[in-house]
């Protein structure tokens, strides 16, 4: 029998988190997790809608899937970098292709997560990026 884990509800700093993934299940699961700990979350299933959403709602952190119909994660991340330089970017991908990872190594992003990942790692990442923002700022 495993040890009872504490509920992951303690939140140090609420962030505006933009989620973009064309898989509705992953989007729902991550949104649930991030909202649960108190983050302000906006979720989009495509890049164009996400960029529209950002105009009225600037995010602190964007969590982007790479392989998406329409604008892919690389294009969305480039647009975010140009328009919202303060927004931190976390890329996530289920791909292992050399082409994707080669492109990622040249992409100006803050972190990359390979699917499947433990969403608690994503929570920690968002927290760390927020902390480094404080140091930077």
């Amino acid at each position: 029998m495993g040890a009872r884990v504490p509920r992951f509800r303690e939140l140090v700093d609420t962030k505006r988190v933009l989620l973009v993934d064309d898989d509705p299940l992953i989007l729902r699961a991550l949104r649930t997790r991030l909202s649960y700990v108190g983050h302000d979350v906006q979720a989009f299933s495509d890049g164009a809608s996400a960029l529209c959403g950002l105009e009225a709602w600037p995010a602190d952190v964007a969590v982007l899937d790479i392989n998406m119909r329409g604008l892919d994660g690389f294009q969305v991340s480039k647009a975010i970098r140009e328009r919202y330089p303060d927004c931190r970017i976390v890329m996530q991908t289920a791909s292992k292709s050399d082409e994707i990872w080669g492109k990622l190594s040249h992409q100006d992003v803050d972190a990359v997560l390979e699917k499947p990942f433990d969403s608690k790692v994503l929570l920690a990442l968002i927290e760390n990026l927020a902390e480094s923002d404080k140091v930077d700022g």
């Binding site: 884990v5 509920r7 299940l25 992953i26 649930t32 699917k115 499947p116 433990d118």
Partner: protein
Amino acid sequence: MASSMKAEASSKVDTEVDTFVPPLANLDGEPLTVLIVDDDEADREQFSDVIRKIHSDIRVIVCGSTEVAKLMIQQQLVDCVLLDFHLVGGVARGHIRALKNAAQDSHLPVVIMSSYGSEAKATNAMRNGAADYLAKNKVTPGALRRAIHNSISKADLSRTLDTERQNLQLAIEDLRRKNREVQSFYHTVSHELKTPITAIREFCSLVHDEVLGEVTEGQLDAMQTSLGCCDRLTLLVNDLFDAARVETGKLELVAQPTDMVELITNEISVQRPWAREHQLTLELHIESDLPICMVDGMRIRQVLANLMRNAVKFTEAGGRIDVSASYQKADGCLEVRVEDNGYGISSEHAEFIFDRLYQCDPQGQNSQNGMGIGLYLCSQIVHQHKGTISVDAVLGEGSVFTFTLPV
């Protein structure tokens, strides 16, 4: 245009030189046509006579310059050219190439004929694309027919070689394309499997962490097991993808100085809960002063994880697994052993167990069979490290998997 030497005629050359009958027909069944290019009319006449003596069926055409020769070659099929060395002024390459271009056949046999034979001239002519070289004062029917026959045979062989080379090139291209397709297929499969695994894992995690409401101890335990299964499924998908990398030669190692005590201890601590879950005793015997090894740490952990997964899978509850690591000073290598007292492997299977997609069926445990990729990957990774991997097993008594890494 190609000419042919019939196998029959060829064998006669080898065995009956004196009674050799030269080729009578080219590939199209026409009599051979030999073009003599020489600005000396007397020479042209002399060689024409000699050729006619070789065989009356050989058609001889003549001209006095390479310019006219090109036109003649464009207009009719020529099987062999006898080219005067004096005409080309010692710069044979351009002339020979021009004649071959006119014939649209890079293998058109051109035999250089020179008034004053010398080895240097012969070598130079051959280097510049001539099929053979003859000194005019040594031309006899026998020498000329051999020169014509040999140069035509050589051209035929070269054409065949060219065709085979082209076929080989096509086959290589085809294999490369198939390789890309396989890589792309595995990539798609990996991506398509990992996306739902991500969702399953996260929903299990939401329940497990009570994000969706309080859960009982039993539900918590079930979720923990599900999460473990998701992680194992992920490893299998990654193995599948790595196997594709091996097949396409893309499994690259990133070797770094690695503390092997730390690496092995960490991996065993990851595997320990699973062994406990299967009610197996897991013991680690590790020398504390193992040398630092230049290895790809992630890949060696993958090897250890695969061997551990097999040991757990093929050992009944109540059994034991012993992992040991030691420095073999005499061989200058690190030796890691994973020993279990499980089902074991029969010798007929042990021989092939590291082969790709090989399946064995220990004691009818079909449901426990994997994809036949894990041990294959282990052997590939260890061999890429220039190490060795082996199994010593007795059916019904257990297995010992041993791998070594150079220090």
